[in-house]
Amino acid sequence: MRTIDKLFVISILALTLVGCRDNIEPILPPDQTIVTYPDPMVGDVKGFFLLNEGNMGSNKATLDYFDYESGEYSCNIFPQRNPHVVKELGDVGNDLQVYGERLYAVINCSNLVEVMDLSTAEHIGAISIANCRYITFDKGFAYVSSYAGPVQVDPTARPGKVVKIDTATLSIVGECVVGYQPEEMAVVGDRLYVANSGGYRVPNYDTTVSVIDLATFTELKRIEVAINLHRLELDRYGYLWVSSRGDYNGKQSALYAIDTRTDQVATKLDLPVGNMTRVGDSLYVYSNAFDKQAQKHSISYAIINLATREVVDRHFIKDGTESQIVLPYGVAVNPETREILVTDAGDYVTPGKLHCYNADGVRQWSVTTGDIPAHIAFTHRKLKPATIINPDQNDTNPYITSVFDYRPAAGQFVNVLPKYEAGDTQQKMNAKVLAAIGNNARSQISLGGFGGYVVVGFDHTIPNVSGLRDFRVLGNAFCNPTTPVGGSCEPGIIMVARDANGNGLPDDEWYEIAGSAHRDVKSEAFYQLAHKAGLDVAFYTDYQITYYRPTSEPDEPTEQYIRWTDNKQGEGYLVKNSVHLQPYFPQWITDNELTFSGSRLPQNGIDTNGTGQNFVLYKFGYGYADNDANTGVECSIDIDWAVDSEGKAVSLRGIDFIKIYSGVNQQNGWIGECSTEISGIEDLHALGERIATR
């Protein structure tokens, strides 16, 4: 063949090869990020679910979960837990509620209500209801509003309905016709109030609230309120708050209160309402008006005092961060902590945001959600980890399979992560650590202050593959895209060992992974900043610290709580803070002094505004545990970075044991001492992940 012919054949073959694809798409695992500090003392509210609507016609309704105990946000948890539910959650999630031990999601354009187990988010059943909108509950029955009432001769005059479901059998037991295009509902005593919108009848909107007698499940009457009604919230004084959307064109949105004793409108507030939620005597309302000419939204975040029925605050976000919200969509308030959650739907076609503000309206954290984050339901059950089929093809377990030692230094999460119970021995604590971080359990353990450590092993030797990183250490670090990068990075130093004598125990020579600060402490991006802030930025290879058991255990915050001394003429105290009041000294250890030694990293926590309020824990370059978000590349370690006790590089073919110890000795104001947290270790090769080394 001539060159030209060959060239042609080659190009066709090349094109054919490019054209291959994975024949069957895998189910996407949830996207998990630690977004805030763990709260081991979490109260009754263990977490919340968030339903993302997804744009109409894209079948992209997704469910997210936030866990207060671990501070972890998981995006899109439904498919992994329900791989056999055809086409996942469905199209346009419109409401989400918890009732009993179940989670109910109303999926509008899929015409169904998805019923899940509250502690696993696993599918229990689905009830098909055409054009269903919202759900509420009373005495074992669920009530679902639906636009699809009986069809009339005049197709434009089709009323809506409320469907009654027996939650024991998930079967429809009754229907009641209401006004046009009914939206939210509220149970008041033995009556159900339904807000009718008439949104399909523009410009002839409905203007009424239907009142249903629950005993007979028939409509008693309609209360005249205003056009295009939408949201309902009942307060403690017997007033039912109803929002009118207006007509988006002259007639403004407004808020009304119906006195449910007289069924008369008692109050009108000229406050436009986008969404609202009630906690105690506060009604949180955001409103949103759009100006086409200026192409701008004008948004306000108001609080109404329900006792006085007055607007008492027009800016419940106090730190100026509301300017970062493009389009507020959902609002919820944690009934225990009064934390405020506001979702941002952005442009509807890309993932939105969830922002969490404390009760004082100061932003605590933000996270990327699914598309159009909208409906939030708090849960009193911690979501159990998903049952995952081991992704590995052979018998190798990519995760930690044994824990040899766990000896934390004193610290605010010690005796909590994992939980110490009276009588627990070292052996028992090791088992608890394995349960928490072994076998991909992905819970958390804390190593306490400087020096505290854990020693773990695997069911196989993790190979050292040239040019690739070999294992990943998961922690709870998070990073913000600041310069330099910082957030909550509490680096732990990693050591590795081979089972050289083959006895299965970590009694062999240890090698330390020399991370960025090991190599040149001045190369750390935060170095100058920390130096200027007067921090101790020295790096020692021969550091030793001793913690002294407190003589008595205070049950209130104490500045001089646990004393420590080091071999560099340093001494100080661990502070007991108001959030964590349990003993900080490991309770299963009987010694009165705890001594640790090893390398010590420069301090990395800086009080950025000098008020002690805003500590940023900066990220080290690479080579440490709990120093990068779990999705970040710097969680992954190359065994080639290991050095011997003299700092010389060693060449290891593989490793059997890993030891991690807290690397920084620093007390960071109210957020406490710098303590490494670990939630797992993964053999990247066993997982088939290829991550290039530096």
Binding site: M1, S11, V18, R21, V86, N111
Partner: protein
């Protein structure tokens, strides 16, 4: 397994080619398309090894037998074989199919039917799935504009253009009548009879009448599967189409010129199967329906006066009716919608060309267009739009160097029934420069470049649709920079007889992109000038002709690489993301073999991975898809000089389950039988 079968098929297609000599030519007869309006005689057995005149702008043409051999239902299917093109396809015979050139957006594509632009002032998009291949002689795509200065101002007025050219009557010396009857049937319950009659009155006047009916149930099976998860097979319903097309044309010749007049009528009813989303299987019927009626009459006259001056006049009247019905009596889950839209368009264009020297020409053209839109929507604005276009152009043409420059003036005035509802007047000046250089005298190599700045006006929907429209919108601008090369060569003793390769690299900017944005809830969206997109791409196409003894083989390859990045907001987490549905890699291969009366055609289309949103996350990732189609046809000649062509087609041979648009599944393997009887 799938892949190895695939490769095997290629090898068979490549090596099966046997040995003799046949005239094989139509493929390269694509050349003179820039002057299509004057000459068109592709139907007969023509030319050998004609040199293809390299276009000064990137252009691609499918015509004649090559077009006929492709397994395509509509014009949209054929355009998929061009490089630099993305087709948005909602699946099935009746699903909407729009074309996007070089990722600038559907509304930047001008679509021309026999030289006159098809308008849709309402939403600016043309459904190319509705244009039948039955009567189609050539389909061409131009980047920038046609490299011809003697054309209407509208030909200068879009960022890229698709030209559909229908058959012109051609008669053998003795014949005065041509009659052609055809019938297609196959999967999806399709029946498609068509008839064409051509008559020669005298050497000054020919007539053509054609009609076609299409019916399909639009039903097909599709599957969704997840690894270690669900596996479901469903049937696409309510995708039926019933359509009638009728055309009548007169073709006249006058001294130093010609004229033609045409009436086109299309009437259809179709169902909308809707997005395939989760729901209780089989419970909801999704009975949304749409009726369309399109009527247009257009005429064209051109005449040369002496050696220096030429005149062309085009005129058109169009009426488009659309009726959309969604009825809860048919589908309980739906909202009642019963809307009727009426559009009218009047258009007149005059173009003049002056040949100053043999190498220097100049032209001036002026177009006037009036559009109206009425709809039975609440608070509808009833807009009327007057568009005035003026274009001045000049071209110099030396043997090895060509250059064109044009300047387009656009004036737009909108009027609405209610005072103050109309957008303000607009006038804009937009330039284009095109150049071509042949570095070697005896080598078919030319280098080309163009620059073009043009805009699209917000459509009447963008501006005036109740609630959604925003009269404060600015036009959406595109700027294109293109450099490229074309090379061709004939070979005598090789199996390869001719090679043509063209490659272009480009950089496009789309500014003030008009996008729909939510205002405060799912019910309320509006249009905003919010987007900025940068597109860097390479389009390459090659054509090879082979001769394996008696078997002539023609091969067409196209490849496109595009980075089309959303660069609207540097603060956004998704800044720089690839825009939705634009693959980085795409391409096609067509291999056609002719042996005596037999034709074998294999075509392969590849669309690489892409995202369904500018948020390029795993959740929005779309897998590559690729389909292989095969067709075999035989021409049977009868003694009475009539002939019958029988074609059997298999499409998507490997039954790949794929989506072009999220939640709109495409058909798997399907079959077709075509009979074409020419008298």
């Amino acid at each position: 397994m799938k892949r190895s079968l695939h490769t095997l098929l290629f090898i068979i297609a490549l090596t099966y080619a046997g040995a003799t000599r046949a005239q094989y030519a139509e493929g390269n007869r694509l050349s003179d398309h820039s002057i299509t309006d004057t000459v068109h005689r592709i139907d007969a057995v023509v030319t050998t090894a004609q040199r293809r005149a390299a276009e000064t702008v990137p252009a691609q043409v499918l015509a004649g037998q090559e077009l006929k051999r492709l397994n395509v239902v509509s014009v949209a299917d054929a355009i998929r074989y061009f490089s630099g093109i993305q087709i948005k396809d909602y699946g099935g015979v009746g699903g909407l199919k729009t074309v996007n050139i070089r990722s600038m957006g559907t509304q930047h594509v001008g679509v021309f039917y026999d030289g006159v632009q098809l308008g849709n002032a309402q939403n600016g998009q043309i459904d190319l799935g509705r244009f039948s291949m039955d009567n189609m002689e050539a389909i061409s795509v131009y980047n920038g504009q046609k490299s011809n200065i003697f054309q209407s101002a509208k030909d200068f007025a879009s960022a890229g253009a698709v030209y559909m050219t229908t058959r012109r009557p051609v008669f053998d010396s003795t014949k005065r009548n041509n009659l052609r009857l055809s019938f297609k049937t196959g999967s999806f319950g399709t029946a498609n009879p068509a008839a064409l009659w051509e008559h020669r009155f005298n050497d000054k006047l020919d007539a053509q009448v054609s009609a076609e009916y299409l019916y399909t149930t639009g039903r097909y099976k599709f599957s969704y599967r997840k690894l270690d998860g669900y596996d479901t097979t469903e049937v696409r319903r309510n995708g039926d189409v019933s359509a009638v097309r009728a055309e009548a044309g007169l073709f006249g010749r006058i001294q130093n010129g010609g004229w033609r007049a045409k009436i086109y009528y299309y009437d259809s009813e179709r169902g909308y199967p809707g997005a395939s989303v989760r729901e209780e299987p089989g419970k909801f019927r999704h009975e949304d329906r749409q009726w369309d009626r399109n009527l247009f009459a257009q005429g064209s006259l051109r005449k040369h006066f002496g050696k220096r001056y030429s005149l062309m006049v085009n005129a058109k009247y169009a009426y488009d009716f659309l009726h959309y019905l969604s009825d809860p009596r048919e589908d309980v889950s739906t909202m009642y919608v019963d809307n009727r839209y009426h559009q009218q368009e009047g258009y007149l264009s005059v173009a003049n060309e002056l040949r100053i020297k043999d190498w220097w020409r100049a032209s001036l053209s002026a177009d006037v267009q009036l559009n109206t839109l009425t709809a039975d929507l609440t608070d509808f604005a009833y807009p009327t739009r007057l568009t005035v276009l003026g274009a001045a152009a000049t071209a110099i043409d030396f043997e090895r160097f060509k250059m064109q420059a044009s300047l387009l003036y656009t004036f737009i005035h909108d009027h609405t029934r209610y005072v103050g509802a109309a957008a303000g007047d607009r006038d804009e000046w937009t330039p284009t420069v095109i150049a071509q250089y042949k570095p070697f005298k005896n080598e078919e190599l030319s280098l080309r470049a163009f620059y073009k700045r043009i805009f699209r006006m917000p459509t009447l929907n963008d501006l005036y649709y109740t609630f959604i429209g925003n009269k404060y919108l600015d036009p959406e601008y595109t700027t294109q920079y293109n450099i490229g090369a074309v090379w061709g060569r004939n070979f005598r003793r090789s199996i390869v007889r001719r090679v043509e390769v063209q490659a272009d690299a480009y950089f496009n900017q789309v500014k003030d992109k008009i996008i729909a944005m939510p205002t405060s809830n799912q019910f309320q969206w509006t249009m905003l000038n919010l987007g900025y997109v940068e597109i860097v791409g390479v389009d390459a196409a090659a054509q090879l002709q082979w001769q394996f003894g008696p078997v002539a083989v023609n091969t067409r390859l196209s490849y496109t690489y595009q980075e089309a990045e959303d660069r609207t907001d540097p603060e956004s987490e998704w800044y720089g993301g690839q825009i939705p549905y634009i693959p980085w890699h795409s391409g096609s291969v067509v291999v056609g073999a002719v042996w005596r009366d037999w034709d074998l055609n294999y075509s392969f289309i590849y669309t690489g991975e892409r995202y369904e949103s500018r948020a390029n996350t795993p959740a929005n990732h779309a897998q590559p898809w690729y389909t292989s189609d095969l067709s075999l046809s035989r021409n049977i000649r009868f003694r009475n000089r009539s002939s019958l062509r029988v074609t059997v087609e298999v499409n998507n041979i490997f039954n790949q389950q794929y989506e072009v648009v999220q939640c709109y599944p495409m058909p798997g393997t399907n079959f077709k039988l075509k009979l074409n009887w020419t008298l």
